[in-house]
Amino acid sequence: MMSLMLRLFQWNMLRSRVQLVIMALAVLGSLSSYVLLGTALSEMSVQVMDAMRSEWPYDFEVQGWFDQDLEDQITTLPGLNHIEIVTMTDIFFYSESLRLLAIPEQETALVMELQEGTMASTADEIVIPAALAQGYGIRVGDVISIQSSKTVNQPVPFTVSGILSGKKGVLLHPLSSYEGLTRLVSADRLTPSALLQLDGRTNLLSFQKNLENIGRGLVIKAIAEEYSDAQANLTLSDSLVTGLRGLILAITALSLAVLLYMTQRSGSYQVGVLRAIGLPRPWLLLPAFMQTLLIFIFGYGTAYLSLPAIATAIGLESNRVALLQHLSGDIWIFLGVGLFSTLVVQIQFLFTSVPRLFKEAW
């Protein structure tokens, strides 16, 4: 039985070699474009969303006493893109009321590009934004007085070690070390905040509800102003990605179906004879599925080896891991489409009566 199946498979594969090669190339080409386009557009979506963000790219500020367990609970909430724990305190800076941030020790979504000087490294150093430096005529090396707005302590002197860039998106708050903040407010009164950035797809209110359900006395503040804009843009680019990928899938399914149909058509008389002599329908279906599977394995293998190089060659900045992750996920969708096309074409032949298969035109 297995031997006959293999012979039928061999016949299926070799009876129209040119069409087989075209089919393999079509799968490779469309799979590659599907993955490359998907990866590129996904990256573009993230960039579009990032571009919509201000210098404070967070959607929630949550205050509470954070430990690993609480952080884990928040991290597992659906829709969270990024979380960071930041210590900050309110200050008076000349006549302005501002927030002074402790320089984040972990990965941060804040852009802290220096225009000049260095980042504050000691307890008496501070980095200020370009707008403040310009507005008050402050230079690197100047000593300025900062007063906490939470206490009645005397102003504390800080040396300006650096000035942040005035570019769009760069942080607009002054920065110091954690020790610098404790010079203004005692450590036991410095409550850390969790700054949360959502993925742009999740509903803000439902995320807030999930946060509230955690309990533990969290003080939650939503920053909704720019989220809806980012969300709208992301929805638009998501629709674009889905539409284009759907189009590629449809074209692939159609071209595969046409090629499979042509291959099948060229052997329809033989299929008729095989069915006449008693070959059950599933026996003819299985080799066709095996053929499709083999073509897709070839397509996947070749794409796996060549895509990173192609991406580099066409100037896509996608990293190799992201690209191959997309490929591994997308191959199943593609295989599903390929098997579906095979099934549709095969059903048409297998359920056509044998006498009809013997006719020249039908």
Binding site: M1, S3, L4, R7, Q10, W11, L14, R15, Y269, Q270, G272, V273, L274, R275, A276, I277, G278, L279, P280, R281, S353, V354, P355, F358
Partner: protein
């Protein structure tokens, strides 16, 4: 009573639609073919010969009537069982040889044997290919064989499993007269050897001497 004949068709009628016009292909046909008997079905094109052959071989269900093969009413079987029944009882020779082009002669002839789960398909296929005069060409692919040789392979494929009935539809239609004679003689010989029944459709009266019985058809009716 039905079991005395290898094949028996009773009251077979079949009508096709040509556009919107119904065309009567078969009308109230009663036919029997006995074991070991070669029946030739003669008639002009469009007389319904091939439709009758397809109907008796389980390939085309009649609108009316019944077909019995070895006492089994074949159109009461489901598709799976009918396929199995065809593989066990029927052999087919068609006008176009339609061997699988990527397989050798030997592999083509093994197909029915492998379908039946034969334990010695290679031996049996080699034997019959030798019997039809292709012992030296068993590993040749169809493209490397002449038309006559391909039809010999097709005959070998039809008869290798010693079927109860052989259905042959214009088996010499694509061959020259000399090769046709050889193929007809070969079918006659093998059918007799196996004691198979054979229903052969042809419009060539030249070979009528090889038949045990000749039936004539016209306008969907047996004359």
């Amino acid at each position: 009573m039905e079991q005395a004949n290898a094949v028996m068709g009773k009251g077979i009628s079949r009508t096709f639609l040509m556009g919107e016009t119904p065309v009567r292909a078969l009308h109230q046909i009663n036919i029997t073919v006995d074991a070991g008997e070669l029946v030739m079905l003669l008639g002009p094109s469009g007389s319904g010969k091939t439709t009758l052959l397809y109907t008796l071989s389980g390939l085309e269900k009649p609108d009316q009537g019944e077909v019995w093969v070895d006492g089994v009413s074949i159109y009461t079987l489901n598709d799976w069982k009918l396929s199995k029944f065809r593989s066990q009882c029927f052999g087919f020779v068609f006008q176009s040889f339609n061997l699988l082009p990527t397989l050798s002669a030997l592999e083509n002839v093994q197909i029915p044997l492998r379908l039946l789960g034969s334990k010695q398909p290679v031996k049996q296929a080699t034997e019959i290919l030798t019997r039809v005069g292709l012992g030296e060409r068993i590993h040749h692919k169809p493209g490397q064989l002449s038309g006559g040789e391909q039809q010999r392979v097709a005959v070998a494929r039809a008869l290798v499993a010693k079927p109860r009935i052989v259905f042959a539809d214009e088996p010499t239609g694509n061959l020259d007269s000399h090769t046709s004679q050889e193929i007809m003689a070969l079918i006659r010989e093998l059918v007799s050897e196996n004691n198979s029944a054979c229903l052969m459709v042809t419009h060539n009266q030249e070979f009528s001497s090889l038949a045990d019985r000749i039936l004539h058809m016209r306008d969907g009716e047996l004359l």
